[in-house]
């Protein structure tokens, strides 16, 4: 598949503050790209530059090879869904969806057909004449998406569109949004700070921090191979533990050898990123040695059980299957040995960012 949009060296200054620091990004035709990062990382600014609501201080936007940096937003032919949705309050649902059509010469019966078609697509065929203020959160959401898609945009842009919905509805909308995107085959860029949402939707994940891209790639790849402790933490790794490289090239945690080896020089400060579900608890002392900790908290959540274990000032979060045999006798205050499933663990230099 070809490159649809190329973002080349885009920077943005707001006075003294540099919101974006030379972003390079290729968006492939028909792909679903999620810009993921904490608030203030520049993801929304980047989306607004793509939409044309902000001008980049430097760099280029190349759409199919031609520079669109200076094209005003109303000539870019993109569809955008705003965080606030920005449905026009003085118009009905149908008028909202039809708004972009009149600038494309779609009028009369054709326009009505297109509106009906979109209301069908978002499974709300009967609300055309309702004022938008009478809609529920989920319905508004769908109408905003329909309004943006009605114009058959070259790019479909979404700025945290689901953040206002409650968890259950958000989950359903994520699946629906992904299906819609596939159905329309439209190149899509979505901004979010929610890693589950990003994992759920994206073909390509772009993790941002401090105005820079930290890592980009397939969601599964970033999930299992985060390049930095920041990315690991942002993608839901619950434990980022201070470790150290030993003389034998072994990663030491709590002063004991782990199963991980490292190529860093002895004494280098490291960080070990471990997901709660990748920690295995065993009776201490363990025949193979290894780090130990004391059980501090146990809570059965049904399918899984959350356990906090503590060594010194460091707490490690552990998630076991509730059927794990150790849970039958595990008690608070007990000493346990920590084993790690190497699949879900990544070792970083502590000074890497």
């Amino acid at each position: 598949m070809g490159i649809d949009l190329r973002i080349a060296g885009v920077s943005k200054h707001f006075g003294e503050f540099q919101a974006l620091k030379g972003i390079d990004l290729d968006i492939e035709q028909g792909s679903f790209v999620c810009l993921l990062g904490p608030s203030g990382c520049g993801k929304t600014t980047l989306l607004r530059i793509i939409a044309g609501f902000e001008r980049a201080s430097a760099g280029q936007l190349l759409l199919n090879g031609s520079d669109i940096s200076a094209v005003p937003p109303h000539k870019r032919d993109f569809g955008m869904v705003f965080q606030s949705l920005a449905l026009f309050p003085h118009m009905s649902v149908a008028e909202n969806i039809a708004y972009g059509l009149k600038f494309r010469g779609v009028t009369g019966v054709k326009r009505d057909d297109r509106v009906a078609e979109l209301l069908d697509v978002i499974s709300l065929p009967a609300i055309a004449d309702r004022p938008v203020s009478s809609l529920s959160g989920g319905q508004r959401q769908r109408v905003a998406i329909a309004r943006a898609l009605a114009v058959q945009p070259r790019l479909f842009l979404l700025d945290e569109p689901l953040s206002a919905l409650d968890a259950q509805l958000r989950d359903a909308m994520q699946i629906e949004l992904r299906q819609l995107q596939q159905q329309f085959g439209v190149t899509t860029i979505l901004v979010t700070h929610d890693q589950t949402e990003a994992m759920m939707l994206a073909d390509k994940l772009v993790v941002m921090k401090g105005g820079e891209v930290c890592q980009q790639g397939a969601p599964q790849e970033i999930y299992s191979q985060p390049a930095t402790a920041f990315t690991a933490q942002f993608l839901g790794a619950s434990n980022i533990l201070d470790a150290i490289a030993s003389d034998q090239g072994i990663v030491q945690l709590f002063g004991a050898d782990t199963v991980f080896s490292t190529e860093e020089a002895p004494g280098t400060a490291l960080k070990l990123s471990v997901r709660a579900e990748n920690v295995i608890l065993d009776r201490a002392p363990h025949p193979s040695g290894g780090p130990c900790a004391e059980v501090e908290f146990i809570r059965n959540l049904g399918a899984s059980t959350e356990i906090l274990v503590k060594n010194g000032a460091t707490t490690v979060r552990v998630r076991l299957s509730s059927r794990d045999s150790i849970l039958r006798t595990l008690a608070i205050g007990e000493r346990v040995a920590l084993q790690f499933d190497p699949e879900g663990c990544v070792v970083f230099r502590a000074d890497a960012d």
């Binding site: 109303h74 569809g79 920005a86 972009g100 114009v151």
Partner: protein, 302 residues
Amino acid sequence: MPAHEQTLQSLMRHQSAARVRRWRPDSALWLLCLPALLIITPFLVACLYMLRFSVSADTGSINGFSLQAYAELAQPYFLRSLWLTLKLAASSTVIVLMLAVPLAMVIVTTRSASWRRLMTVVVLLPMILNLLIQSYGWILLLGPAGVINTTLLQLGMVERPLILLFNEKGVLLGLVQTSLPLAVFPLMSSMRAVSQEYLEAASGLGASHWRSFVDITLPLLKPGLIGAGSIVFAFNASAFAVPLLLGGRRVRMLGLAIRDMISPLFNWSGAAAGGMVLILIITLVLVLSTWLVSRSDVRGGS
């Protein structure tokens, strides 16, 4: 049932149930409104007094009943004055709204807080200054011996001073200038409801600046436009100082006409009737605009 009766009843219920004398917050609130109501009362009494005077059979005192004063208003002298008032109030309202909308938009959307404050103060200034001072300012600028005429004469561009004041245009100018802040402030508050994202959404869908102004900003500003418009209309229809000073008695708006009935003519009942007509017109405009606003609210569904 009026709110205060409900309050009273619930108060009585409350007392009989608990047998304790206690102030309910809403009755305390009524009490706090009392001074304001007392201040408004003389005005209402004066209105009623005027109404009574307007149907008096005698022009100089309240005596008997007659519609003579109203019948006498149907003279070219008063009708011209009425027409002039409506014309000037309406045209100044339209002009003020056209000037105030861009001002309100700029002030609300300016990002720098200090610029925003500065612009607000500049717009507000005429409200702090006395109308007399503002009108004399115009005379100093535009009068026969004013800055503009003196300059033009000295440059030899005109042979006689231009008549820029003491005609309808001069009065219109004064009305527009003095009532502009009255329109800018209500428009600013309704402009705040026009989220920047609505305009961005419209522009993202293909609307030019002008289209999004017509399709989004104006309809959303409608309640503000109607509110500001009726305030300006009411203010300018009852203008007195501006036509007196800038019209030089040649532009006889209703306020002046009524004053003339009192002062040289001692036609008190005629003046009262004229006043009632003025009040009626303004009330009609306010009722109409309230109705328009409530209708646009229903359409918005909120």
